[in-house]
């Protein structure tokens, strides 16, 4: 199956170099071909596993515990202005 690398790279926010693209595409196609052997397994009556433990209903109480990580995090931020993180102008609202 051809791997639509342009489209997937767009979703994954990766700008790949042309030579990289060709190599990755080839690799991914061979991995997918290998993975396709799963099609042989009959899973019609099988429930999917999302968690291996049978844990349920793990909560925390609605209690406030202030943390003090802001200054430490901002200190190492790639770009900041005052107590804000800074990014290039976000033009649209989406």
């Amino acid at each position: 199956m051809p791997f639509e690398i342009e489209q997937i790279a767009e979703l994954a926010r990766l700008s790949l170099k042309p030579e990289e693209k060709a190599k990755l595409k080839k690799d991914l196609e061979s991995i997918l071909a290998y993975v396709d052997e799963l099609k042989k397994v009959d899973t019609e009556k099988v429930e999917p596993t999302s968690h291996v433990l049978n844990l349920e209903n793990i909560f925390r109480k609605d209690e406030v515990r202030p943390s003090s990580v802001r200054d430490e995090t901002l200190k190492h931020a790639p770009s900041r202005e005052g107590n804000f993180f800074k990014v290039p102008k976000v033009i649209d609202q989406e």
Binding site: E10, L11, S50, F59, R60, V64, T73, G82
Partner: protein
Amino acid sequence: MVQAESKTLGRYEPVIGLEVHVQLATRSKLFCPCPAQFGAEPNLNTCPVCLGLPGSLPVLNQEALRMAVKAGLALNCRVAERFKFDRKNYFYPDLPKAYQISQFNKPVNGRGFLTVELKDGPKKIGITRAHLEEDAGKLLHEGVKDGSLVDYNRAGVPLLEIVSEPEIFTTEEAYQYLTTLKAILQYLEVSDCDMEKGSLRCDANISIRPRGEKKLGTKVEIKNMNSFRAVERALQFEIERQTGVLTEGGRLTQETRLWNESRGETFSMRSKEYAHDYRYFPEPDLVPFTLSRAEVEAIRRTLPELPNERIQRLVKDYGISEYDSARLVQEKAVAEYYEASVKEGVSAKLAANWILSELLGHLKEAGTAIQGSKVSAQSLAGLIRLIENNTISGKIAKDVLPEMLATGKSAEAVVKEKGLVQVTDVKLIETVVLKIIQANPKGVEDFRSGKKQAAGFLVGQVMKETQGKANPKLVNEILEKKLAK
């Protein structure tokens, strides 16, 4: 079905669905113990979890779930026995993990409905789902020259997303849906639903189709509406725009449009449309959740009186009209205020009138919520009592109220200070009446020749002369007596 009334419609019918996000009023955030309050210094209410720092993990706030279930029950939703959380993956600077923890195919609240009161009767509007999710941070653009700033205080605040079925067919229905929903949520005390603070947000999906057609037309999403009125206006604008396009033989495109409040129009975002593919999958960092029917029933028992129930009760207990009752109940705080004032022993009808036609108007003008009013329910009852015992006229009272609102003084104090006590001295009124009769021969003639409205004019002149303090009933009586002579 209620049909939309619009000049431009006719052949076409709009179909509207609303997506409402409300912030749940928990103390801490949805998945971490940071304060969920609005208004802190930038990025102060953050921790590794809501900043999405590598290695951090979410743990669900139990109270947020309880609030979500309460809302679900009040909206007649089927509360799930099993539900889970999913990741919604997309990139945006206000989304620290590049995914939002939300609920995809197993939301906590499934199908439900709410009943709205329309001019021609009640209507049920279906609710598709009401699910829990975390909020994103906030971007600031204004006043920043070369970039945008990010504040993650809001990131991770619990939201309930309430999605309606596409069963709204007029802008009035949309407006009523929103006010009814807001009232319910406020009554539940699960959200303050303050649109200005962003604790209630609404997006709309709208399409139009030829009347009688079953299939939905091309869907347009509208965002950026900051009030219920704005939702109504934006929808009206879209109905007309879309009808115009189709009438001229054009085609609509599926898109997202933003409402521009000052221009009163929507405009296409025209941003580079990334293919939206959110790649939902079960959140591996959270385990599944179950709710036994007993637990759901226990939560149901904590539901307070809901707006519809209260409307009926006020009609029954106080003898006010259903229309007035609905207006009083819409805002919980107003209903509380009303009942507190009636408790003081004044006329329930007068209290309703005074709140609806005077007090709320003044407060709105001043931009004050009823909770912040300098006139308490007890103090308003004091004013009404002065009217009831003829100390002042209703007209005078209308001047007294603004003074009370401005100063916080009692009605008695204002009346006394300004010497506004009603004149009931027959002698004094007679003197003024005679004076007015002499000064207005034309009015007297008109009256005698059968022009009833002339009486109103003469009464008005007497009231003016007494600075409104004369008892209107006495003025009428004395005037008629004198003119009959």
